[in-house]
């Protein structure tokens, strides 16, 4: 209890000058080649501000984890990166988010194209009420990525392989995707995202609805995918962040408190709040 009270206190102090905090992040710790860069991102839900001047870079072909207690804004930030927040009534995003140097919120940008380039995997496995094959084929079909049936089949099989699901489902590709187990469903969703071959994959607590064994499989998968994709993952579990990510960003009450190499964040954080959180004093 006292810890919580304390952290709230520090926060009160912080909120008076959030700029200082971000500026404190050492420059040299930033990843050299960033796929996505975010500068001074503010997000509002109606009158309520959910994110304050967040600045993060998502480095190419590696995994960045967003951690923090519930309601800290980490998911909100993630959903800014492919403009999923557009679908929420009354949500307003300010600031500068760039994908390969292109402003994501530029009115000239086509969200459809953006989302094809920045894929997303959700908290709860959400396969469509279609067959396994059709689930994976959905993205390529709508985007017109395959010119014929063979090409489409190839994409589906490759994506399922990459998601380490092919062996388990190869005999029942035309059965409904909803019939799979939770972990398999989530891998199906990852395969579905991969099928569009996005450059960046956003994962919003992909394991929170899964059992430990399924979680381990997904984590393994994320580690494999790192070779080819840029991944940003929101997670509740610090262990998961430590296991899968190269860099970690800690959010608290809408502020990006600290960002850096995962090892640094977990072993030698600069900020008192990060330290309290990673040592399990609150969260």
């Amino acid at each position: 209890m006292t810890n919580i009270a304390k952290s709230e206190n520090t926060d009160m102090n912080m909120s008076s000058g959030p700029f200082v905090d971000v500026a404190n992040t050492p420059k040299q710790q930033r990843a050299p080649k960033a796929r996505v860069t975010a500068q001074n991102v503010n997000v509002f839900y109606g009158q309520k501000q959910a994110l304050f001047d967040v600045c993060v870079d998502v480095p190419d072909r590696s995994v960045i984890a967003f951690i923090g207690p519930s309601g800290c804004g980490k998911s909100t930030f993630l959903r800014c990166l492919n403009r999923m927040n557009d679908t929420i009534e009354g949500c307003r995003v300010e600031g500068d988010i760039k994908l390969d140097g292109q402003d994501v919120y530029d009115p000239k940008i086509d969200v459809v194209e953006l989302r094809a380039r920045v894929g997303m995997v959700f908290q709860k496995p959400n396969p469509f009420p279609k067959s396994i094959f059709e689930n994976v084929a959905y993205g390529p079909k709508i985007h017109g990525l395959a010119t014929n049936k063979t090409e489409l089949e190839e994409i589906v099989v490759t994506s399922l392989r990459k998601a380490s699901l092919f062996e388990e489902v190869k005999d029942r590709l035309h059965e409904p995707g909803t019939g799979l187990s939770g972990g398999q469903q989530q891998r199906l969703c990852i395969a579905r995202a991969i099928a569009v071959s996005p450059e960046v994959i956003l994962m919003d607590e992909p394991c929170s609805a899964l059992d430990p064994i399924a979680t381990a499989k997904i984590e393994e998968l994320i580690d494999e995918l790192r070779a080819n994709y840029t991944i940003a993952i929101v997670t509740h579990s610090m262990q998961q962040a430590a296991r899968v990510s190269q860099r970690t960003a800690f959010f608290h009450l809408g502020l990006l408190v600290e960002e850096g190499p995962t090892e640094t964040i977990f072993t030698a954080p600069n900020d008192k709040r990060t330290q309290d959180y990673v040592t399990g004093r609150f969260g």
């Binding site: 894929g119 959400n126 959905y138 569009v196």
Partner: protein, 456 residues
Amino acid sequence: MNSWMVALLLLAVLSLAYQQGWSLSRRLATPEGRLHSRPAYHGSLVAIWTIAPALVIFGLWALFGTSASRAFILANLPAEIVDTGGAALQSAIQRVRAIASGFGVAGEVQPYEAAAGEALRRFQLIASATVLAAAAAFAGVSLYFARRRIATRLRARNEVERLVRYLLLACSGVAILTTLGIVLSLVFEAARFFTFVSPIDFFFGTVWNPRFSTTGAGSGQYGLLPLLWGTVMVAGIAMFVALPIGLMTAIYLSQYAKPRVRSIVKPMIEILAGIPTIVYGFFALVTVGPALSAFGASIGVDIRATSALTAGIVMGIMIIPFISSLSDDILRQVPRAMIDGSIGLGATQSETIKRVVLPAALPGIVGAFLLAVSRAIGETMIVVLAAGNSPFLRANPGEPISTVTVTIVNQLTGDQDFASPQSLVAFALGLTLFVMTLFLNMAALYIVRRFREQYE
């Protein structure tokens, strides 16, 4: 007996009995022996037991009193008047009653009338006194016993609650009785109809011409098919109008519209659902029919003002809100996560709707569609006014037709000779209609239920 007086008396007895139970149980309550139930429950229990027998007696008298007094009058009238029967007997009974009530009759009073009236007066006096006395006696006896049962350990509350529960159960039995009543009356009367006309001629006949009941029984032709065809055609046209408009409305309101727009537009469309069907019928007859006919003339097609097309289109308008609000409910039950999944892959909103939302909601929408069809084939007033009432097998929707419901109305209104096949056929038609809608409803409810369970 004045029924107001009786009601007042019963009320007085009721409160007296309640008061008795209440005060008696209260006196029993001592620090050592605590009452099981609060005095109010003792009071209620005593009141219920006291009033119930009296109510039964009054109920019996209300049911059989009139026929008893009628029998008494008949017994007191001269045999030759009783034998004439008919209107003369009716008026004689009326006169005797008027004399007995002291109001008197105009004109000469026959001695036998006076005697019968006097006897009836005495009979009524004695009868009502007896009923009153019997009710009072039963009430008194049961009050006595109910009072004697009062004890600290009497579980008065449990008993009262059990009685209340029985009452509630009886109330929910009314719905069952209604269904039973519908099924029995339809089957029974339809069976009577089938003693005149063979079921094969009815179900497979292609000519509908029942004639009039005055021209002799069983002389008409009772082919169901022209009516069934008309019903199907009108319902088909209605669905053709209602489904696209209703479904697109639901899609727009549930997926695109901002909450503000939704909160204004949805009730406005639902106004259509609250308008009585007779109003739609009038609308069809006065506005839509002539407009269609003029439109047909302008493009060189012959459309009659009252036709399957007129009735179908207006019925479609009536069904729009039905489809749109059912589909809206169902579309909103498609999980947000599924929609997000599609949007997250870069699908446009319409792609998401067409490829994810609608397939997911399909069973529910099929259910809504079936319910709407069931409503369309059971709809009466629009077709009565606007379909033209012409029971022939015709393929052209611009021609007048007739439907099952229209024919039920035609056969049962006006001349009410219940025993003729001309009237009874309405029940055979009603049975057909009932079975058709029953199947549609059962299927629809089953599908919708399954759909709901899937996403809950």
